[in-house]
C-alpha cells in the first residue's frame, strides 16, 4: 500500500456522487467503493463521510431508503437522483477544467515565458 493522499477540500461530495452514480450503496459501501476505485490512494476519515451524505441528501442530490445488506442486516442505501446526476456532471466539468488550467500552469517551462 503506497502513501495515501489527503483529500482535497470539497472533493468528497463529488466522489460520493460518483460512487453512488454506479448503483445504490450504503455508507460503508460508498467508502469501500471510493477506496476501490482510487486503488486505496486516498485517505478518507470514515466518520466524515456521514455529514457529507446528510448534506447531499438535504440538497436533494441523493435519496435514501432502508434495505437489507449483503449479510442480511438493515442498512440505509443511498441512490442518485436526477438532480444529483446533473450536479455530478457540472462538478466533473468544473474539476476537469480546473485540473487542465492548473496542470497547464505547472507544466510551464522558462523558455515559454
Amino acid at each position: 500500500m503506497g502513501k495515501q493522499a489527503d483529500l482535497i477540500q470539497g472533493t468528497l461530495d463529488m466522489l460520493i456522487l460518483k460512487a453512488v452514480s454506479l448503483g445504490p450503496l450504503h455508507g460503508y459501501g460508498i467508502l469501500l467503493r471510493i477506496q476501490q476505485i482510487s486503488k486505496d490512494r486516498l485517505e478518507i476519515q470514515q466518520g466524515s463521510l456521514y455529514p457529507a451524505l446528510y448534506r447531499l441528501e438535504h440538497q436533494g442530490w441523493i435519496a435514501s431508503e432502508w434495505g437489507e445488506s449483503e449479510n442480511n442486516r438493515k442498512a440505509k442505501y443511498y441512490r442518485m437522483t436526477a438532480a444529483g446526476r446533473k450536479q455530478l456532471q457540472a462538478e466533473a466539468a468544473k474539476w476537469n477544467r480546473m485540473a487542465e488550467i492548473i496542470g497547464g500552469i505547472l507544466e510551464t517551462v522558462p523558455e515559454e515565458l
Partner: protein, 911 residues
C-alpha cells in the same frame, strides 16, 4: 428545486426528530460493525477489530453533530434550547416578567388602538378602484366674492377661503365638457331624512348622487342595481339604493327589500339596490343609509326658493372624479379650470377672471374628508404620547435586563470559556428579549383590539352612534408586530451588547456581584435618566392638558346649563313648510311647557355650545355697511322664553314675548358686545338695525340688550350676537328645544316624547341630550388628551419608580463592600442613607433637567390645543419635576435603608 428539497428534508427531520436520531445511530453503528467484521475476516481478533473500527471512524458524537448541522437542525436546536432557557428564566423571576409583559402590553396596546383610529380617520380610502387617482374639486375665492351656499369651507394654505360645494348647473356643464377625468360625479350628504317603512318613521341619513355616480366611481352593489343616469331625470320614477348595514338592520337582508316602496320625507321611493358592505358613500366616515338620485332634491328636500338644480348661484354639490391614466394633476387642474370658468363668466358677468373662484384639485382618495382636518393633529399628539410610553417601557426593560445580565455575567463567562461565540451568546440574550416582547406584544394586540373603539367613542358625543369604527385587519396586525419586534430589538440591544463584553478572566475569577465595572452602572444610569426625562415630558404634557380641561370647564358661560334637556326636531319640509312649520314649532313649545316637571321651555334655531351657528352682516339703519368682517355678527332665532329658560340676563330693555310674532314689528335682542360694535357711544335700546345685503334688507328694532354669553363653543370669547324671535322668521330650518326641568329629569324625556307624539306621531325626536352633555361633547378632544396623557403618566411614574429602584438596588449591592469599609471607618448609617439618596437625586435631577428641556421644545407644538395655559406653564412643569423627584426618592428609600443597615463585619467577610 434545491430549496424545496431542503425544506422537505428539514421538515422531515424536525417533524419526527426521535426517529431521525434513532436512524442516524443505527446507520453509524452499521458502518462501524461492518468495518469491524471485515477486519475480523482479515484475522484481527474481535476485541481489537472493534477498537480499531471505532478509532478510525472518529468521534461518533462529533460526526452526529455535523450530520445534524448538515440537515439545518443545529440552528433549530440552539433556538429551541434558547427558548426553553428563556422560559425558565422568566419562570424564575415572575415579578420581572410581570412588569415586562404588563408594561409592554399597555404600551403596545395603546399604540395599536391609536393606530387603528388613525387608520380609520386618516388612511382608509374609499372602497372603489384606484382611489389614488380620485380628485375632489375645490375652489379658492377672495373674501369679497359673495357665495351663497351650503357646504364645508376650509382655510387654505395661503389663508384664503377654500370651498367644496359647486352650483349644480356648473357641474352639468363641466361634466359634459371635461376631458381629463374618467368621469365627473356629483354628490351631497343630507342628514335626518324621515324614512317611513311599513308605517314606522325613523330618522336616516342620505346621499344625493348624480346619475353617473356609480359607474363613474366604480362603486359596487351586491343586490339589485345601482342608480343610473336614467334615474337622474325629473320624470323618472323615484328610486333609492340602500346601504348594506341598513339592509341588514331594517330588512334582515331579505330579497323582499328590492322593489319595496318606502317614504322618504313622505315622497314614495322604490328601493332598487343594495350597496356593497365596504362602500359607504363619498364622504369619509359618514354612513348614509339611503342613496337617492340628485334629481329628487326638489321633492325630498324642497327649498322655498325653488329647485337647487337650476340655480346658478347656489353652491352646494360636491364634485369628485378619477384622473384618466397618465394625466398629471397639474394638467388636469389646468384643463378643468377652463371648464369651470366658462359657466361662471356667464353667471357673474360683472367679474373678471381674476375675481372669480379658482378651481383646485384636492386628494379624493377618501372622498370628501372632513375628518382629516379635525383629527390629524389630535392623532399625532396621541401617537406621540403612546410612542413615549413605549419608549419609557423599553428604557425601563433595558435597564432591568442589564441588571440581570450583570448577575449572569459569570454564567456568560462560563459559556464563552467553553467556546460559545459572541454571536451565539448575543443570540441567546436576544431570544429572551424577543420572547418578552412577543408575549407583551400579543397581550398588547389583544388589548388594542378590545379597546379599539374606546378612544373613538370618547371623541364623539355620547348620545350619537359612533361614526368612526376601528377595524382590525392585517395592517393593524402588521403594525403591532412591527412595533413589537422593534421594541424587542430596542430593549434587547443594550443587554445583548453588554453580555458579550464579559471579560473571561475576571468573570470567572470573581464572585458574581463584584464583576461588572462602572461601565454597566453608567449605562444603566443613563437609561434611567433617559426614562425619567421621557416621563417628565409626558407628565408636563398631561399637566397642560389637564389644566386646559379644567380651565375650559370652569369658563363662565354666560348662561346656566344645569337641568336643561335638549332635543332637535327637523320635520320634513314636504309636510311642514312656511307658516305651518313655525306654527308646529310654537305648538310643541307651548305643549311641552305645560308638562309637570318642566319649569320653562323654549327653542332656538341653533343649540348653544354645539359647534354650530348662524351668522350674518348687521348694521345700524342710519349708516351703510362696512366690510363683512367689521359688521359680522352671530345670529340665533329663539323662542319667547329663551332668556329666562337659559338664565341669560337681560341687562336693558326686555326679552321676547309671544306677541313678537309674524304680524308684529320685527324686533331683536343684541348682546353687549354687539351693542358696543354697532352703537359704540350711544344707547342701543330703541335703535333699528338692518341686514347688510339683500335687495330688501330686513330691519329690526332693538328691544333689549343681553349679557354676553358663549355661543357655538366655549374656547372663544362670547361673539357679538343678535337674537330674533323664531316666530318672525320666514321659515325656520330645524329647531332645538331647551327645556328647564325640575329636580328630576329622568321622567321628563319620556313625557316630552309623548307630548311631541300627540302633536304628530311621525316626528322623531333627534339628538336628545342634556345641555351639560352637549357642552361635554365639545370638550371630547380635551378630555381624551387629559385622560390618556394622565393615564400614560401614571404608568410612566410607576415604571420610573421600578427603574430607579432597580438601578439603586443594584448599585448598593455592588458597593456593599465599599459601604462596609466606610462604616468600619466610622461612617454613620444616616450618612450612608444620605449618600444613596443624594446619588438618586442627582440621577433623577439630571433626567428632570433633560425632560424639562425636551418639554419646552415639544409642548409648543400643541399650543393651539391648550386653553388658559401657556405651553411653558410653570405649574405643569414644576409639578411634573416635583412628582418625579418624589417618586425617585421613595423608590430609592428601600435600597438606601438596606445600605444603611449594612453590617461592616459581614460586608468585609463577604469578600
Amino acid at each position: 428545486m434545491t430549496i424545496a428539497a431542503r425544506l422537505r428534508s428539514w421538515m422531515r427531520a424536525t417533524r419526527n426528530r426521535s426517529r431521525m436520531e434513532g436512524e442516524m445511530e443505527q446507520e453509524l453503528r452499521f458502518h462501524v460493525e461492518s468495518y469491524a467484521d471485515d477486519l475480523i475476516r482479515q484475522g484481527v481478533p474481535r476485541e481489537e477489530a472493534m477498537r480499531r473500527a471505532r478509532i478510525e471512524f472518529g468521534g461518533i458524537e462529533t460526526h452526529k453533530e455535523e450530520c445534524r448541522a448538515s440537515l439545518g437542525l443545529r440552528i433549530w436546536d440552539e433556538f429551541s434550547s434558547d427558548v426553553r432557557y428563556a422560559l425558565r428564566m422568566m419562570k424564575h423571576s415572575p415579578g420581572f416578567t410581570a412588569v415586562a409583559v404588563l408594561s409592554l402590553a399597555l404600551g403596545i396596546g395603546a399604540n395599536t388602538a391609536i393606530f387603528t383610529l388613525a387608520k380609520a380617520v386618516l388612511l382608509k380610502t374609499m372602497a372603489v378602484p384606484h382611489p389614488e387617482r380620485l380628485r375632489l374639486l375645490t375652489f379658492s375665492v377672495k373674501p369679497e366674492f359673495n357665495i351663497n351656499g351650503w357646504g364645508n369651507w376650509f382655510r387654505g394654505d395661503g389663508g384664503e377661503r377654500v370651498g367644496t360645494p359647486f352650483p349644480y348647473p356648473v357641474f352639468r356643464e363641466m361634466q359634459q365638457h371635461q376631458q381629463v377625468l374618467e368621469d365627473l360625479v356629483a354628490f351631497k350628504d343630507v342628514y335626518k331624512l324621515t324614512a317611513t317603512i311599513n308605517g314606522e318613521a325613523e330618522s336616516v341619513d342620505g346621499e344625493l348622487v348624480s346619475g353617473n355616480f356609480y359607474t363613474g366611481l366604480g362603486a359596487r352593489v351586491i343586490a339589485g342595481r345601482a342608480i343610473s343616469p336614467a334615474d337622474d331625470t325629473v320624470s323618472a320614477p323615484a328610486v333609492a339604493v340602500i346601504s348594506d348595514a341598513y339592509w341588514a338592520k331594517r330588512f334582515g337582508r331579505s330579497a323582499d327589500a328590492l322593489g319595496k316602496t318606502i317614504g322618504v320625507n313622505r315622497v314614495p321611493v322604490t328601493i332598487v339596490g343594495v350597496n356593497a358592505p365596504e362602500f359607504a358613500g363619498a364622504k369619509a366616515n359618514a354612513t348614509p343609509e339611503l342613496f337617492l338620485p340628485i334629481s329628487l332634491q326638489p321633492q325630498v328636500i324642497p327649498d322655498r326658493q325653488g329647485s337647487l338644480l337650476s340655480r346658478d348661484t347656489f353652491w352646494w354639490v360636491l364634485l369628485l372624479g378619477r384622473l384618466k391614466p397618465g394625466v398629471t394633476n397639474e394638467a388636469a387642474q389646468e384643463a378643468l379650470r377652463a371648464n369651470f370658468l366658462n359657466p361662471l363668466r356667464a353667471t357673474y358677468p360683472g367679474k373678471g377672471d381674476k375675481d372669480l373662484p379658482r378651481l383646485l384639485l384636492g386628494s379624493g382618495r377618501r372622498g370628501l374628508d372632513m375628518m382629516k382636518g379635525q383629527f390629524s393633529e389630535p392623532i399625532y399628539v396621541l401617537m406621540g404620547a403612546a410612542g413615549l410610553v413605549l419608549l419609557i417601557a423599553c428604557a425601563n426593560l433595558a435597564n432591568l435586563l442589564l441588571a440581570r445580565a450583570s448577575v449572569r455575567q459569570r454564567e456568560m463567562s462560563v459559556r464563552m470559556a467553553m467556546g460559545a461565540g459572541r454571536l451565539r451568546v448575543m443570540r441567546q440574550v436576544f431570544t429572551e428579549s424577543m420572547l418578552l416582547a412577543l408575549l407583551g406584544g400579543s397581550a398588547g394586540l389583544a388589548l388594542g383590539i378590545a379597546g379599539q373603539n374606546i378612544i373613538p367613542n370618547r371623541f364623539e358625543a355620547s348620545w350619537r352612534t359612533s361614526s368612526i369604527r376601528g377595524e382590525f385587519d392585517w395592517m393593524v396586525f402588521a403594525y403591532a408586530l412591527g412595533i413589537t419586534l422593534a421594541t424587542g430589538l430596542l430593549f434587547g440591544a443594550a443587554p445583548a451588547w453588554r453580555s458579550t463584553k464579559a471579560d473571561l478572566n475576571t468573570g470567572l475569577k470573581e464572585t458574581g456581584r463584584m464583576t461588572a465595572g462602572s461601565g454597566r452602572a453608567l449605562l444603566g444610569k443613563s437609561l434611567v435618566a433617559f426614562q425619567v426625562a421621557l416621563s417628565v415630558l409626558l407628565l408636563a404634557a398631561a399637566g397642560l392638558f389637564l389644566r386646559t380641561l379644567v380651565n375650559l370647564k370652569s369658563t363662565a358661560l354666560g348662561f346656566n346649563p344645569e337641568r336643561i334637556l335638549l332635543f332637535q326636531l327637523d320635520p320634513p319640509r314636504t309636510r311642514y313648510a312656511g307658516k305651518q312649520r313655525t306654527a308646529l314649532f310654537q305648538q310643541i313649545e307651548e305643549r311641552v311647557a305645560t308638562l309637570a316637571g318642566v319649569e320653562a321651555a323654549t327653542a332656538s334655531a341653533e343649540p348653544l355650545v354645539a359647534d354650530s351657528m348662524g351668522n350674518g352682516c348687521y348694521r345700524p339703519t342710519d349708516r351703510p355697511a362696512r366690510s363683512n368682517r367689521e359688521d359680522m355678527a352671530y345670529a340665533n332665532s329663539v323662542g319667547s322664553r329663551f332668556f329666562e329658560t337659559l338664565g341669560m340676563p337681560i341687562l336693558y330693555g326686555r326679552g321676547f314675548t309671544s306677541r313678537d310674532n309674524q304680524t308684529a314689528p320685527k324686533v331683536a335682542v343684541i348682546n353687549q358686545r354687539l351693542a358696543r360694535q354697532l352703537f359704540p357711544k350711544t344707547n342701543a335700546l330703541g335703535r333699528s338695525i338692518a341686514t347688510c345685503s339683500g335687495d330688501t334688507p330686513a330691519t329690526f328694532e332693538v328691544v333689549g340688550v343681553s349679557a354676553d354669553a358663549k355661543y357655538d363653543n366655549i374656547r372663544e370669547d362670547a361673539p357679538p350676537t343678535i337674537f330674533v324671535p323664531y316666530l318672525q322668521d320666514d321659515e325656520p330650518w330645524s329647531i332645538t328645544y331647551e327645556i328647564k326641568t325640575a329636580a328630576s329629569t329622568a321622567s321628563v324625556a319620556a313625557e316630552v316624547r309623548e307630548a311631541v307624539r300627540s302633536v304628530d306621531k311621525d316626528l322623531p325626536l333627534l339628538e336628545v341630550r342634556m345641555q351639560t352633555e352637549q357642552i361635554d361633547a365639545t370638550l371630547s378632544q380635551e378630555r381624551v388628551f387629559a385622560t390618556l396623557t394622565g393615564g400614560f403618566s401614571i404608568l410612566a411614574l410607576t415604571l420610573a419608580g421600578i427603574g430607579i429602584y432597580g438601578i439603586m438596588a443594584y448599585t448598593v449591592s455592588r458597593r456593599t463592600n465599599e459601604i462596609g469599609i466606610r462604616m468600619a471607618l466610622g461612617a454613620q448609617a444616616r450618612g450612608v442613607l444620605a449618600m444613596v439618596l443624594k446619588e438618586t437625586s442627582v440621577l433623577s435631577l439630571m433626567g428632570v433637567a433633560l425632560g424639562i428641556g425636551a418639554a419646552l421644545g415639544v409642548t409648543r407644538l400643541v399650543k393651539s390645543m391648550l386653553f388658559g395655559v401657556k405651553p411653558d406653564d410653570p405649574m405643569s412643569f414644576v409639578g411634573a419635576a416635583g412628582l418625579l423627584v418624589i417618586i425617585a426618592l421613595a423608590a430609592a428609600l428601600i435600597p438606601a435603608r438596606r445600605a444603611a443597615g449594612v453590617d461592616p463585619m459581614q460586608a468585609l467577610r463577604h469578600e
